[in-house]
């Protein structure tokens, strides 16, 4: 079977990975092209014990790891808060482990073949990537929750992720006051609050002034689905799994512009 037949189906994904890894399609494509040329010239080969996809990524890794990983970061990576910039601020090797597993869907053993690392080393890289992502996303969190026990649970979980809890508000009024004192980078909100006021109203009020990601954690999801749903929002149903909340927080923050805009200012 020729190279074309073996590799063509994997090239769209190879280009995606190269783009995510380098932060730029043209730069990514240049490495893909170099990898294909090395294969065509016989300077690199596809190890027969690997699947064609893993083998292709391994050859790409040899090319990029030898040059690209050493060249970065470009000057504009330091600031900029879109997801591509966030990716580029993760150290090259942990970024690779993260992207190979979370974006490309390789298991740790496959990622290990590609990176020339043992599965344990891949796990260590994944942990490093997570620590870097956590540091990147660390922000000030406002919790809107009237049940003290649940509020304490959420607070602990938020702190565990490295965030600061700026306030725990039990009513709409308290939430709006809290935001006036300190602008949060993330809002976690219950819907039905202590004095009968609505977390949805509180959030609408906040979003009218600031562009901030919001995660609703509620036992009454239907109120969000039927009512006018403020954007950008996530929805988690009580009782919640801590991991689900943590995953939602990471997702919400990673894809939300970090700069807090004061729309009314």
């Amino acid at each position: 079977m020729g190279l074309l037949e073996r590799l063509a189906p994997h090239l769209p994904y190879m280009r995606r990975y190269a783009r995510a890894l380098t932060g730029d399609q043209a730069a990514g494509d240049a490495y893909v092209r170099a990898a294909l040329e090395a294969l065509a010239a016989g300077e690199a080969s596809l190890p027969p014990h690997l699947t064609p996809r893993v083998a292709l990524y391994q050859v790409f890794q040899m090319i990029w790891g030898g040059t690209g990983a050493r060249l970065e970061p470009p000057a504009d990576v330091a600031d900029g808060d879109d997801p591509s910039h966030r990716l580029m601020r993760i150290a090259p090797r942990s970024r690779q482990a993260f992207l190979l597993t979370a974006l490309e869907g390789f298991n740790p053993a496959e990622a290990g073949h590609i990176l020339g690392a043992t599965p344990l080393e891949v796990e260590a890289l994944i942990s490093e990537a997570q620590a870097e992502i956590d540091a990147e996303l660390a922000t000030q969190v406002l919790i809107i929750e009237d049940e003290p026990v649940i509020a304490a649970d959420i607070e602990a979980l938020v702190r565990e992720l490295g965030h600061t809890v700026v306030d725990v508000a039990a009513t709409r009024r308290e939430a709006v006051d809290a935001v006036a004192h300190a602008t949060p980078g993330l809002v976690l909100a219950d819907i039905q609050l202590a004095d009968g006021s609505s977390g949805i109203d509180a959030v609408k009020n906040i979003l009218g002034r600031y562009d901030v990601p919001v995660i609703f954690i509620t036992a009454f999801p239907e109120r969000l689905l039927t009512g006018e749903r403020p954007e950008p929002t996530f929805l988690i149903t009580k009782p919640f799994q801590p991991e689900t909340v943590k995953a939602a927080i990471g997702q919400a923050l990673f894809f939300h512009p970090a700069k807090v805009k004061a729309a009314a200012a």
Binding site: G2, L3, L4, E5, L7, A8, L11, P12, Y13, R15, R16, R19, A20, Q25, D29, V32, R33, L36, E37, L39, A40, A41, P83, F98, L99, T101, A102, L103, G105, E123, I126, S127, A129, Q130, I133, E243, K246, A247, A248, G250, Q251, F254, F255
Partner: protein, 67 residues
């Protein structure tokens, strides 16, 4: 390669860190899902012809060489 799995009791100190990796993986998958949406267009657009040409030229040379 043979990987020996230690018994549960001796794993105890490692338990926390391996569940951390599990949690990290879960949280990274949540980001990965959205990254895939973000890069959807890259995957659906046609692969540049020059990439396919590099492979085609190689395959042609290889099969010519066999004749």
């Amino acid at each position: 390669m043979v990987v020996t799995m230690p018994d549960r009791p001796s794993r105890a100190p490692k338990g926390a860190s391996s569940s951390n990796v599990e949690e990290a993986r879960l949280r990274q998958q949540a980001i990965g899902v959205k990254l895939r949406q973000m890069f959807d267009q890259v995957v659906s657009e046609p692969v540049p012809d020059e990439f396919l040409d590099i492979l085609r030229r190689h395959d042609k040379k290889a099969s010519d060489g066999q004749d």
